[in-house]
Every structure is written in structure tokens, then in C-alpha cells.
Symmetry: C2
Subunit: 414 residues, 2 copies
Amino acid sequence: MNSPASTCLAINGERLLQRIAQLAQIGAIDGGGVCRLALTDEDKAGRDQVVSWMRDLGMSVEIDQIGNIIGTRAGRLDVAPVMTGSHIDTVRTGGRYDGNLGVLAGLEVVASLNDADVQLDRPLQVVAFTNEEGARFAPDMMGSLVFQGGLSLQEALDTVGIDGSTVRENLERIGYAGSVPCGQPDVHAYMELHIEQGPVLEHESIDIGAVTGVQGICWLEFEVQGVSNHAGTTPMHLRHDAGVVAQQIGSFVRQLTERYGPPQLGTVGRCELFPNLVNVIPSKAVFTVDLRNVDKASLDQAEQEVLDFARQAAEREGVQIKHRHLARFDPVQFDERLISKVEQHAKDLGCSVKRMPSGAGHDAQMLARSCPTGMIFVPSVRGLSHNPAEFTHDKDLIAGCSILLSTLVELARE
Amino acid sequence: MNSPASTCLAINGERLLQRIAQLAQIGAIDGGGVCRLALTDEDKAGRDQVVSWMRDLGMSVEIDQIGNIIGTRAGRLDVAPVMTGSHIDTVRTGGRYDGNLGVLAGLEVVASLNDADVQLDRPLQVVAFTNEEGARFAPDMMGSLVFQGGLSLQEALDTVGIDGSTVRENLERIGYAGSVPCGQPDVHAYMELHIEQGPVLEHESIDIGAVTGVQGICWLEFEVQGVSNHAGTTPMHLRHDAGVVAQQIGSFVRQLTERYGPPQLGTVGRCELFPNLVNVIPSKAVFTVDLRNVDKASLDQAEQEVLDFARQAAEREGVQIKHRHLARFDPVQFDERLISKVEQHAKDLGCSVKRMPSGAGHDAQMLARSCPTGMIFVPSVRGLSHNPAEFTHDKDLIAGCSILLSTLVELARE
């Protein structure tokens, strides 16, 4: 039974690329991008297409209570399935690969198995999770979070989106309010293929990333309240300049990342000064600090250092400072056995491979709470994502899908 | 002839305060402030009031070609006049003291001289200069600049304001396109009374500032161009973060002011990041640096240090940086003899006094190019100005006006 898989079983790259191109037509925007916000009419059209492809492949299709689409290819045995997938919702100015690749690669794996007439011991499930992006409804990764039991179904359904309507209303409206219960997943293993969304693989000329986990995130928003005054008539020692405190904290964040070294990341992405005039000392500054690390202890320490420095800088300047968390996720570690499998299958295929954490969040990190989980990254040209210019070379898409196939087959035979 | 001045000659504080209150009714806005943008209908109404008061005081009134109102109290001799004054235009949300005090104190000096029937050797002129604020037409201090010959009349008249109309059109419209030529001032000495517009006098509990000059100004606008990328997937060493360069330069400016010590000032008043999102590395930052110093060499050096640091910081980060000057004025030194007179007359009145530079620009700095010039500062509560809450205590207004009287009388007898 093992020989057909290793000799004849191979994906059809052309078919994978065609499905990617076809799905990208739904909600297409200028520049080759896609706008398919979660639970909109465009999302419904995309879902209908995926369901139709699943049925064509002979899969049984179920919709769960949060709208996740679960296609199942039956196994020889009635045991916990091997699962793969991702999401097909996008941000407003999204690309065609983010999420979609993981779902369509799953379908290509099923199609290849059908072509080769390979029957596996375990069922193989391909899932399109609801609202991974969080661009219309917060939080992001909602479908996988509810699927795994990390968020109550009621809370998720009651979520009000940016346009004032709820997840429940929209699921019902587009006909994806399913009945399969959420929160008790029995999954043997979960694998997700995704574009890197960062520049590391391309920069280092590596074909495949064996993803070791998802880094933890700490998003802080600071508000500094100082006193507005004339920039020409107020001596330095009488100032309470909210802006300079923001700048000092921004510089400190950069110094901290240099001191910690990789994989510590730190970014001040947003900063606003008030009244924002050349000759007026800023009375108020609002800015964000985005800290990330794969190591929880380091992330915690970085956060504490930033908070300590911020308090001291504010005290020195005689201004008020307060902060709130916009987000806080601990790092997620993927399964060592699955990471090794990805490495091995990449090498078998002649691909260069490196272990790397994921900088962005993925549905896989929710699954990792319940079952052995792994991810495969393929390079993103110029590291672009959430951008119509998002691009991954065909050969990389095909290589990633091939490694997904080998890994899933191996897992489904356990 | 000297005895009446030193014994009976005194200002009428009540009358001064009443004129201030009366002029503040014209263009009054909520919170006790004034909106009398240059050459608007409100400015015309204010000018008419001032001219009417001048005539009531027996002064001859002339309007020059840039619209400056020059009231003259004749002297015994046909020699160069002693001049005082300021401006009555305001910013959009101005206070009632800025500028107005200098003009109305001049009128009060004339009224006091009339009351005491004191005749002086030199003519005494009270001037209300056109468009000191620059809030409607750039540059600021336009009337005194043209009066002194630092800007050609034609260029000034052709200036287009924020509403698209020219200085010429508006001068004609409000009837203040005068015929007295500009640019050849023959003035024996110029004295201006003004509110400090800063917190120093109040903070140090000093009654009077003997102004030593006006600090030089260097306004730089920087634009940093980096590369926008995902804050979670882009390693620190692959970033080209425009925002962090802005923050580093802002922190450097503060360090520089600490290293130089007073009177060096440095302010980042304006800063904008693009696209200004928590999880996106800023692709662009636009921000201003406001440097001021009374010492030209120090100011030049500070500017050079900021430009050098900015270039290095940009190079380190691999971003493009460019800058332009929004303004650049050398420091102005006032006349030592006049500074001493202000000190002496303040002490004679029992006032505490300190020598200090002006942080803001004033008409006096233009006059200083042509004749011995001095200024008297009175305290601004909480340092507020260009604000309806701008306030100076009555006793300080009256003390300032009394010192102006003594100084002008002394100068007019030279």
C-alpha cells in the first residue's frame, strides 16, 4: 500500500494554480488583489465555490455553528481525522494567496489522492475557517478559535462588525449558519500550508519554512497627556511635552530589540500628536507599541521593560501616561514531530528548508491547543501580504502543496 | 521742565484697562478672546477705533502704503520721532492683550502727557503695524518689515492670503491703502510693550522683563521615506522604518537642548506616520523640528548637529530623508542703552525686573534693523497666548505702561 504513494502520487500543479486563479475572480480588485471580507456576499460566493469543488471531489460537506466549512474525504477506519485548511476571507485590500492557498492546496491533495485512487486509513478533512482576518469582526481567527473551544459560540455570534451587523445575522443571511457543534474537536493532527507574509525565506533564498510556532504578541496603546505651550517662549525645564515622551519610548523600543536580538520584534506603527503644529509643544500623544517574541518569558520581560521605561520617561517630563492592551497572545509552539516531518519531506523533494516561527497569526495556532499541529511556509515575494501585490512563485506554491500532500498522507496512515 | 514728569506725570490705569476692554469687543469670541485677522472687517473696525482715539488725543494720523497706522504727537523740535506701538491684528483664536497692549499703552502715554500738559522735544509716534500675526497673510510681521525696508512694498501687496485675496485688495477694500512711503524710517528710538507669551516671569515671580533681543528661529521639516511592511513577519535587520528615524531624531533634539543648556530650545511639534497602523512598519514620516537660540553661532551649530544626526540615522535605517526650511531668522539684539533704561525705570517703580530674550517674534525686531530698539515684557498667566484664555493681571499691565511712559519721555528729551 505504501509504494503507490511514494511512486505515483503527485499533485497536479496546473490544477492548483487554476483553482487559485478562479477563486481570486470572486471579489477581485485592481492590481490582482481580492476583497472578500468575512460573511459578505463575496465571501458567500467564495464559500459556494469551495463547497462545490469539495462535492465534485466526492467529499461530504458539513457547516458548523460558526460557519466553518468542513469537507471530509472518508478513510478506511472510523478514527480521528487528519485535518488541513486555512481560510478564504480576506482583508479589504488583500491578496489572492493568503488563506486561500491552504484551503485550495487541501483540495488539491484530495484530488491527487482520488486521481491515484489512494485510500487512507484516517479520514482527511479540509476546512475553510470563518473570519480569520478579523477585518470585519473582531477577534481575528474567530472560526478556528470557536472550533477549538477557545471562545464561546454565543459570544462569537453576537459580535458586532464594523458595519453594525452581527456574525449571527450574516451567517444566516448568506446561508452558512450550520448545525455541527463547535468546541469538541477530535483531530489526529492539523497541518496548514500558508504564504510566509514576510521576507525571510526570499531574503535567505530558502524554498520552504518548517514553522516552529507562532510568536506571542503584545500590543500596547499609550496615551500621554502633557501641556500645550508656545515652542518659542517656554523654557525647556518648564515643559511637559507629550510628544518627546512618545519619541523617547519609540527609540527605547528599537534599542530594546537590538539588546535582545532576534527573534524579538518591536514596532511603533501608529503615532499621533496634538495639536500637531510646528511651534506648539504637543499636549497629547497617542501611539502604539507592537512587541513580538516566540519566547514567552522574553516577551513578558520586553513588555515590562517598555512599561517601566514609559513610566520613568513620563515622570521625568512631568506628564501623565496611561496604557491599555489592544492585544496579548502568548507564543504557540507547534509539534516537534510535525516540524521534523515538514523538514524531511521538503528535503526529499530537493527543497532547501529552515525552521522558523510565524510572525503573523494563523488558524493553526488555535488548533495547536487541541492536537499536534504544524505549518508549511512558502516564500512571499518582497515579503508583501495584505496587499494586492502579494505574490508567491508558482514553483513555490506547487512545492508547498507537494510537501503538504506527503505530510498528510504520512499522518493519515498512522 | 524735568520736575513735572517725575512728580505729576502718571498714567491713568483705569483708562488703559477700559480701552483694552473696549477694543476686545471688536471681533470678540467665546472665552474672552478675539478674532481679528489682518485686513478683515473686524480689523477695519478695530483700526477705525484706534484712529478715532488718536484723533481724540489730538494726534495727526497717517496711513502708509502697507496700511500701518502712524499717530503723531508733535514735539517741540522738527527731529526724528520716538516711536512706540505694536499691532492689533490677532490669530483666529487670539487673546485681548497680544499686540493690542502695545498700541493702547502708547495711546495711554500720549493721554497722560496731554493730561499733565507735558511738551516733549521730539515727536512721539504710536504705530499699529499691519499683519503682525501672519495668520491670514505670510510672512508675519509684514507691516514692520515693509516699514523698515526689509520687504518690498510690491511683494507685500501682492501676497495672497489663505482665502485667495491679496493684501492690496484688502487694504483698498477696508480703506487703509495709505500714501505715506515705506522703507526709509527715520526714528530716534523704538520701544514696544508686550505680554511675555511665555511662563518665565510668572514662574520666577518677576514683574517686568527687560527684553534683550529676539531669539533666532530655525524651522526644519523632515520627510523620511522607508518601506511599509508587516510588523510581525519582518525581522528587525530587514526593516526600513521611517517612524523610528523620526523618533530617534526627536529624542536627539531633546538631548541636544540638554547638552547645550538654556537658552537653546528644541521642539518636535508636528509628526505624522503613514500608514499609521499598529501592525504596519511606517513607510513614511513627516515631522518638524523647531530650534531657537539668542546666539546665532549656537543656533547654526544646533541646526547642523540635527541635520548630521538625521542623515546618519536615516543611513543606519536604510531610508531616504530630505528636509526643507519652513523658516530661518537670525537672532536680533536690542539696544544695550534701552535695555538698561527699562531695568532702571522698572526698579524706580519698585518692580522686580530681569533681562530676558523674547521667545516669540515681534515688530520690534524689524525696527531693530533701523534704530535703537527695546521691549518691555509683562507676565502672561500660565504662559498662555494665542488663546482666548490669555491673561495678564491689571497691576502688571499698568506697571508695564508706566515704565513705557518713563522710558519714552526720557528718550523724547534726548
